[in-house]
Symmetry: C2
Subunit: 160 residues, 2 copies
Amino acid sequence: MDQIVFKPIGIIHTPFTNREGMPIQPSGAEGVRGTVEIAPEFAAGLKDLDGFSYIMLIYHFHLSSGYELEVVPFMDDTPRGVFATRAPKRPNGIGVSVVKLLKVEGNVLEVEDLDVIDGTPLLDIKPFVPDIDNREGGSSGWLSGKAMKMRTKKSDGRFR
Amino acid sequence: MDQIVFKPIGIIHTPFTNREGMPIQPSGAEGVRGTVEIAPEFAAGLKDLDGFSYIMLIYHFHLSSGYELEVVPFMDDTPRGVFATRAPKRPNGIGVSVVKLLKVEGNVLEVEDLDVIDGTPLLDIKPFVPDIDNREGGSSGWLSGKAMKMRTKKSDGRFR
């Protein structure tokens, strides 16, 4: 299949400069503030974004290279299929985080609940709409019952 | 900033062969079934995925080329900043849909609530976990109060 080429539209700035000891999900990064700096050429695309309380950031796991199809995720001690995890080392290193949008000033967004490392290249932003994006019930597989743990669990060096 | 190169891990097969008249969100595609065919070399990464009721598909809007920073979205008649919409014509054509996972058989997933066109190249799969991925309250900007309309609105030819 053909290769697909993307180019970052901006950079995510966060307090995390080390891949170890980071929150592993936005729910574990409550109150962590940072900024999303959009390249000036794309700033006009931010119009109307300030009306949304939550936005989805899509970014590149730029520090991870290569991948394995089974990984032992931060939340477990059993190998899991990589697509049943959110581990950063994946065939295509795409990360997704839904964060709180505090303010839009020109080409800079102030956001909260950031679980990504400083300097992460941003690929896209989409509005998050609870009325259509939330899902209720169902099973969460090996992650069932682990939501509380995910709030406090920190990363370690396993996905270099 | 550097270019980022991805390679599809599979193909999404759906009943939609025409960009016009499609549902514009998974919530408008209730009951629409299709399959996600993973390239055999990545099939081992699907282990444990069958425990999840909902999964996030990340894919390439391969039929859209170019972009504009302001677009009139399907749900509105006012131009909006492209990052405040989910229009397929965007600087990086990345789409995200959370769908119901019905079954995993080898390298093929049976899924429901598909709002993508047949033949869409798949980039990644992640588990969706309501306990950590749902968000409550807040504002949904220009989309406030339009969730019901989004369930029935169909696409037209505007994002070729």
